[in-house]
Symmetry: C2
Subunit: 193 residues, 2 copies
């Protein structure tokens, strides 16, 4: 855990996901860790903060989420582009050394006991809100965010600072086949008179 | 409808949303149209393509979606930043002229009879997949995409072309309070040997 990681108040946690980044999903059960990439993750509520994430039945991480009832959603940066692609395309079932090959370093944050991926810009620790029908019919999982952190070099005082943080800190947004866009320039709409 | 709007094959429709843009949601019922903004929209499945969108109980558009069983998700561009902000903050119930004030032009696409917002980069016509528990407990709506279109000046042959299309075509990604980021530069992960 580096000195720049700061807690994010829960009422601001939705801001970590609202701009639609591709995320990493990590979970731990019975001493086994895994990490996968998910482009289909989305904020769901403000308070308490909730989110949705789609976890295909073929993924090993899904089993860890179901068994442990908790997971971490974290926001990778441009620096983690290749790592994100690799944990999104390699499978732990067929490749037990997946995390090492992809260069994943896991760290602790707080007292959750969950695995957090080092080098991300933000982390949301989630409690699974069980909804068996959604999980079975749609591969759709709901999490309630119980704690959140961000690296103050890019998210501080409740705001992203992509425009000043250096391009290596930008969030990445997958389209298909390893093709991503980094987030770009800030824009402010005019308030009403 | 302008000459640059082309159908998108359903198997490629997920690519219109996977990078996480803020969207506009439109619906029509009994001759009444409305449009709202939603940052919390997300792809859910490839084939048939499905998506989720969060529609707060306070929104007028939600009633139109529930009554008509269909809605459109469309991707606004930088040019529509202010329009997106205004349809996201004004309410039709208290301001019946909301769409005119915000400068919304509605057009037809295909034979759906649904209202499509002119000037967007992509449009997904959706059939509501009724899930009363999700709608009531989480404000979470599921749509099956029945047809999709994109403006070939920015999405063509199944790919976004933000890097060549001119910055006015970029998708916009809301954070909070009228503060958005435009999508940025393309990045390609290396494939495995």
């Amino acid at each position: 855990m580096n000195e720049h990681i700061r807690p994010v108040p829960l009422e601001k946690a939705y801001r970590l996901l609202t701009h639609g980044p591709t995320v990493l999903v990590s979970a731990r059960h019975a001493g086994v860790d895994n990490v996968m990439a998910a482009a289909w993750a989305c904020a769901l509520d403000f308070a308490p903060p909730k989110l949705t994430v789609v976890l295909d039945k073929s993924t090993h991480t899904r089993g860890l989420v179901e068994a442990s009832g908790q997971f971490v959603i974290q926001v990778p940066t441009v620096r983690l582009l290749q790592l994100t692609h690799e944990v999104g395309t390699r499978g732990r079932a067929s490749e037990p050394g997946k995390l090492e090959v992809a260069g994943v370093e896991l760290v602790r944050l707080g007292e959750t006991g969950m695995p957090f991926v080092a080098g991300c810009s933000a982390w949301l620790a989630c409690r699974l809100v069980p909804e068996p029908h959604n999980q079975q019919a749609y591969d759709l999982f709901i999490g309630e965010v119980t704690a959140a952190w961000a690296d103050e070099r890019v998210f501080k005082d409740g705001h992203w600072h992509f425009e000043t943080a250096g391009t290596e800190w930008r969030s990445i947004h997958h389209v298909a086949g390893g093709h991503f866009y980094a987030i770009g320039e800030p824009m402010q709409a005019r308030s009403e008179p």
